[in-house]
């Protein structure tokens, strides 16, 4: 059984349909990229899974439980850790408080303490500044902080919305290098919304392409980027 399966969910904001019977599956230990142009419904898909928006129809199952319509805190407590678009750092809290916030739902206090040391080992910059307010960090540092924060929740799956948004290319490389390292060393399951299909193919994993609220294409990221189908699906010509 898949760790996460989303079946035929639809989401509407007023008159606007953001998702139209979208379906994806994420297996334990894999990396799934969700790509597509602006307004394709990528972020809405993550928000629907996280419980921030309610789908008007469809079925979502995570870790063996139906979660559609459940409040975000209940979904987080099943091990779904979300890094939303724009990072959403708690600027008024210290860096360590940001990291500790997601640990409230964990019972394994010893492992939590070890995880904190591990996060600091991966991001030494965070440890140096752990008592400073998180608002002072640069965009790239904030991205590292929210990835660390998601890890501290002891998740079964981390969902990241546009990790490269607003970052310099060099910093994006760093972020992805860290994600790959974490994925390979800890066997993390990753669900990443990424506008750049090239970035997805460099990182490796499976990829779905969304367009107008629907899943238009699905396959191995590298093969899709090499082929012609992606370009066609992305820009939509040759379909009408």
């Amino acid at each position: 059984m898949s760790l996460l399966s989303v079946e035929n969910i639809s989401v509407r904001y007023g008159q606007l349909t953001a998702l139209r019977k979208a379906s994806i599956k994420v297996e334990e230990g894999e990396t799934l990229f969700v790509t597509g142009p602006n307004g394709a419904g990528k972020s809405t898909l993550l928000k629907a899974i996280a419980g921030v928006v309610s789908p008007r129809e469809g079925f979502i199952q995570f870790a063996g439980r139906p979660i559609a319509g459940k409040p975000p805190e209940d979904i987080a407590r099943l091990g779904f850790s979300m890094v939303p678009e724009g990072r959403e750092v708690f600027g008024g809290l210290t860096i360590e408080e940001n990291l500790r916030l997601g640990t409230g739902m964990r019972a394994d206090k010893d492992q939590t303490a070890k995880d904190l040391e591990q996060v600091y080992a991966v991001f030494p910059m965070l440890k140096d500044r752990k008592d400073q307010q998180a608002g002072v960090l640069s965009g790239g540092q904030q991205q590292m902080l929210v990835i660390g924060r998601a890890l501290m929740a002891g998740p079964r799956l981390i969902a990241i919305d546009e990790p490269s948004l607003g970052l310099a290319p060099k910093v994006i490389d760093d972020v992805y290098a860290t994600l790959i390292r974490l994925r390979d060393s800890r066997g993390l399951t990753l669900l990443i919304v990424e506008q750049s299909a090239t970035r997805a193919s460099l990182t490796g994993g499976r990829m779905v392409l969304m367009r107008s609220g629907e899943v238009a294409l699905e396959g191995d990221a590298r093969e899709l980027v090499r082929g012609e189908a992606l370009r066609q699906a992305y820009f939509g010509y040759g379909e009408h």
Binding site: A50, G51, V52, P71, P72, E73, A76, R77, S81, M82, P84, E88, F90, G91, G92, L93, E97, R100, L101, G102, G104, M105, G135, R149, A153
Partner: protein, 304 residues
């Protein structure tokens, strides 16, 4: 020197009341963007909880006769209970409503509480003798200071320190601060919305109870409108402080207290009856200068 000491004590004790009131409002606003206008009626309710229901002119003191060590926790519990109850019965249903709707709901709740008290106790103010020895003035360096003023200031400091430690050092405090900044993100990290909001209401209710106890000791009267004036000043203080900022609310509470007392001293006698006009005039100038308040909260800044 003497006059200065007197002014200082007057300003600090009045400011303390305003600060506690403002804090009660800012706490709730922080976690759910609700300006709770029923807060003033919580204050009155807590005070009336000391009396046996009757429409007689004379107050029949009931719980008020309990020894202080029991009475104070009892009244605090009444405040917390009423506040949490109003969250569960009323405000929870407006969780995703827009702030104006929530504010109107709080007005309505305030009227319900007020008329509930009116029904049980009548609208006549009643006098009650609670710790009246504290209002007898003692002389310190020539200034006449009732012990209650010193106690008010002392109690406020204790409450502020306790609340700061609670917010900074405990898990609940961390979750409340996070929720005040970005509730959705906090929930995505497993922070339970209902628990945090109920806790904020409980603390806010206890602050209302503390204000009620101080007020009734000061004035010696119980009146269903006793919280209304203070609520208005406290609301103004939260706006000046920057809605959602707790230190801002406290500081602005003290500022308004100080402004009121200082105006009383420096205004020419003919202008003194219009003191409040000068105080609120200063408030208007202040808001023109800084529309977001002295300390615009992080959440408010992000939205701009």
């Amino acid at each position: 020197m003497t006059a200065l000491l007197q002014v200082l004590f007057d300003a600090l004790s009045l400011g303390s009341l305003y600060a506690l009131g403002a804090l009660g409002i800012a706490l709730i606003f922080g976690v759910m963007r609700l300006v709770n206008f029923a807060h003033g009626d919580y204050i009155a309710f807590c005070v009336f909880a000391m009396l046996w229901p009757s429409i007689d002119a004379a107050a029949i003191v009931f719980a008020g006769n309990l020894p202080t060590v029991i009475l104070v926790p009892f009244i605090l519990a009444v405040g917390a209970g009423l506040s949490v109850l109003s969250e569960i019965v009323v405000f929870r249903r407006f969780r995703n409503a827009n702030p104006a709707t929530m504010m109107i709901a709080s007005f309505a709740l305030g009227f319900v509480i007020k008329y509930f008290l009116l029904m049980l106790y009548s609208s006549r103010p009643k006098s009650i003798d609670l710790w009246s020895s504290l209002t007898r003035q003692i002389e310190i360096a020539g200034a006449r200071i009732p012990p209650l003023q010193a106690i008010t200031i002392g109690v406020t400091i204790v409450i502020l320190v306790t609340l700061t430690v609670f917010l900074k050092r405990t898990r609940f405090g961390l979750e409340m601060r996070a929720a005040a900044e970005n509730f959705t993100m906090a929930r995505m990290l497993g922070v339970r919305a209902n628990r945090v909001i109920m806790l904020a209401f409980a603390v806010s209710g206890m602050l209302a109870a503390a204000v009620g106890l101080i007020l009734v000791t000061q004035t010696g009267t119980v009146d269903i409108n006793m919280g209304a004036n203070l609520m208005l000043v406290a609301f103004v203080a939260t706006v000046i402080g920057g809605l959602g900022s707790l230190p801002g609310a406290v500081l602005a509470g003290y500022l308004i207290g100080a402004a009121t007392v200082i105006m009383q001293v420096v205004l020419p006698p003919d202008a003194r009856p219009f003191r409040d006009a000068f105080v609120y005039g200063a408030v208007i100038v202040m808001l023109i200068w800084r529309p977001n308040g002295l300390f615009a909260s992080k959440a408010a800044k992000q939205r701009v």
